[in-house]
Every structure is written in C-alpha cells, then in structure tokens.
Subunit: 215 residues, 2 copies
Amino acid sequence: MNEEREVKISKATIQRLPAYLRCLQSFRQQGIRTVTSTMVAEALGLNSIQVRKDLALVSSVSGRPKTGFAIQELIVDVRNFLGYDRASEAILVGAGGLGAALIGYTGFADYGLHIVAAFDSNPSLIGRSYNGVSILSVEEMPAFIQENNILMGIITVPKGAAQSVCDIMTDAGVRAVWNFAPVHLAVPQGVALRNEDMAASLAVLSKDLSRLTQD
Amino acid sequence: MNEEREVKISKATIQRLPAYLRCLQSFRQQGIRTVTSTMVAEALGLNSIQVRKDLALVSSVSGRPKTGFAIQELIVDVRNFLGYDRASEAILVGAGGLGAALIGYTGFADYGLHIVAAFDSNPSLIGRSYNGVSILSVEEMPAFIQENNILMGIITVPKGAAQSVCDIMTDAGVRAVWNFAPVHLAVPQGVALRNEDMAASLAVLSKDLSRLTQD
DNA sequence: TAGATTGTTAATCGATTAACAATC
DNA sequence: TAGATTGTTAATCGATTAACAATC
C-alpha cells in the first residue's frame, strides 16, 4: 500500500494500470463488490503474482487475504494514481484524418485529458470545429500555449512538419509531447516525449503472425 | 549477420527496427553512403551498443570496422526482415473517425500493409469508399475473409462491439488482430494480438510529465 | 600505423515469476 | 478449522550495457 508516497513504480506497471482499471470497472458493472488479483489476472491473461504486486503498489489499503480488495475503493485508488480526476489540458496540432479522429474521440475525457484547441496550417480547416474543439491557425499556437498554460501537445501532422511543430510547442512551454507522426522527435531536456509508433506495433504483430503461420 | 536463419530476435529489437529504418532512409536521402551504429544511435537517442547488436541480427553482411555498413544494403536487409516488400492484406472493421483515418493513411503501404476492405454496421457508411477502399456491411465480413484469405484484421469499433467482431474475424480465419478499441480482447490459441492501448501510452506520458513538473 | 568500429562474450540491471509465512 | 489470498523476500529470466580482442 502507499500513502501518496511516490514510490518508484516501473513504466511497465504504469502501462498495465489502465487495463486493470477497465477490468475493475467491468467487474463493478456486473455487480461484483470484491476482487482478487487472480480474477483480474485471469480476465486479462496476465500472471496473478504480477497483478498482485502491481495492485499493492497503488492500493491505499492492504488487500484482505482470501477476499481481496473492495472493488470500488481500488477503482478510486487506480484512478487517483493515474490522475484521471485531475483534468489536464492539451492542444493538438494537425487536424487532418488522425487529428480529427482524436479530437472526435470522446474517450479521452475518461482519462482526464481534454483537448482544448486544435491547430492546423490548412486555411480550409481553420475556423471549423470538431466536437466543440475549434481549429485555429498554427501561428496562434505559441500564444495560446502561454496564455493557457498548456503542458501537453499532441502532434498529428505529416512527418516533415513534426519536428518544427515540436520545437515551437516546447519553446512555448509544453512539457509533454505525444507524437503520432512517424519520425523520431528530439525534445529538450525536461520535456517528456511519447512516440506512438504504429510501424513498431505493426512490426511486432507481423512477426508474431509469421511465426504462427510459418512454423 | 544472418542468412534467412530465424534466430530468435526479441520483441524489443523488432520494435526498434522501424525507427532504424526511418533513420537510415533519412541518412540516405542526405546522400550518406555508409553508416555506423554510433550514427544511428545518436540520431535516435539510443545506446550505440544496443544499435550495434540489433543491426548485427538483421544485416546479411558483417559491418566493416571503422566504416560501418553500406547504407543501401542495410536498408534492404531491414526492409526484408520486416517484410515491407511482401505485401500483406488486411481488413478494417469500424469505419468511424479512427477507422476512416487509418484507411486514409497512405503510410501503411510503406510497411507492406494494404487495407483491402472496410466493414461497418452503419447503413449510412456502407457503400461509401475512402481512399479507394470501399465500406461493406459487417455481415459480408466472414465471407470476404475466407474468399480472400485475409490474415489480418484491424478493429476500430466501439469497445462494446470489439470482442464480438474479434470472434467473428478469427472464426473466419484471421490470424492476427490489431485492436484499437479500449478493451482487452481474448483471442483463440494460434492467433496473434496487438492492443494499441492509448490509455497505456498516455499513462506513461502523464507520469513522466508529473515527475518533471512536480520534482 | 593508429584509432574507430566491429562482433561477441561477460557483467549489470530491471522486471517477472516463484516461494512462503502471515492472515482472514 | 482449512484453504485461498495477501505482502514480501528470493530466484529466475531477459534485456541492456560494458569489456575486449579482431580488423579495416
């Protein structure tokens, strides 16, 4: 158990937590009140010891031997750890296909992520709005970031433009960059970066597939 | 070096290869003819020993001490390893925002991935076509998979529908499922699965951000 | 030649899995 | 009580990093 202490929790564990949360919420919806590591592990196809250790890191109370965790309490703890109730504002740059899809995705609100504005350089997109999010000119981006204290930027521009958009963002004060363009971005020290590399995902899936079909 | 031998290459290495390839291609475009592990490592912010080991696994020839690898040859080897020149056909289910964006993304062709048909249950989408890919009724999906020997399915439906779509796909013969819906899917033995879990990515980025801003 | 880079073997690091006493 | 599950400590596993002789 932890008491708001920032014990170091591995990246691997952090990545699993959203899946645990979805699992817990689905159990709760089924009317289940109490949950064990084994139940979660089985639902997700994971090792139960791993789940047990992960949950111990984020739960505010010890699980009870034999019965496990009070599901509602655990949900609160995981959500709290992930910061889903502390809204964070992000901007998105590149309102093309993928950008528009992300703006339109209502699920981000569940994760405490609010896209408050989008930017594009295409005049025919500027002025439109998707899902209540208006598309502004990229030229307005630095001022917007500064005025609204935006800490996170989502990049969905073509690869050629990604690094320069990234530079402008981070210069203006963005401290976390979520990059969907297929390029490796360089960010200054002190800025968090996450590359959503579809090609990397696909490579792993393809290799798994060829192992399955060729052996 | 390897000679079409299926030495076991770790998932971690496979995931890095697409980034190496992009890097190599960018060097080549700059007119560079020969490349060392150090150059790639620096460009991508990785450890050079790691890059050296990774490249050794996929290169068909040994690198030459002092000069490194012939860039063109290495590109061919990496592409070959990743199967980018062996076209693989996939179908996509769920032609909403994200689905439409993926259909419209022309970059997949670079990775040897061709989305040959899309399916949806929404009558107002059926019959349309994006980017030359026509949207058919989900009911036609099993027959399409069987008739065209489709091995890969991309799921971009709302989470409630994902598992049933997945079941139908795999029953019809799909052997690799690329899931973008925010649910954990269960697939039969012998089917490869890759969950594109945006919440997991965001969780890691958010935690990195909060470490940066709160310490 | 001298020195940078290679492939490979060894050491380190971190994450996963196993073992086990405590407990509800 | 008996037995399943907990938290925690130890063992294993795999991936990353270091070390080094070979070589262009």
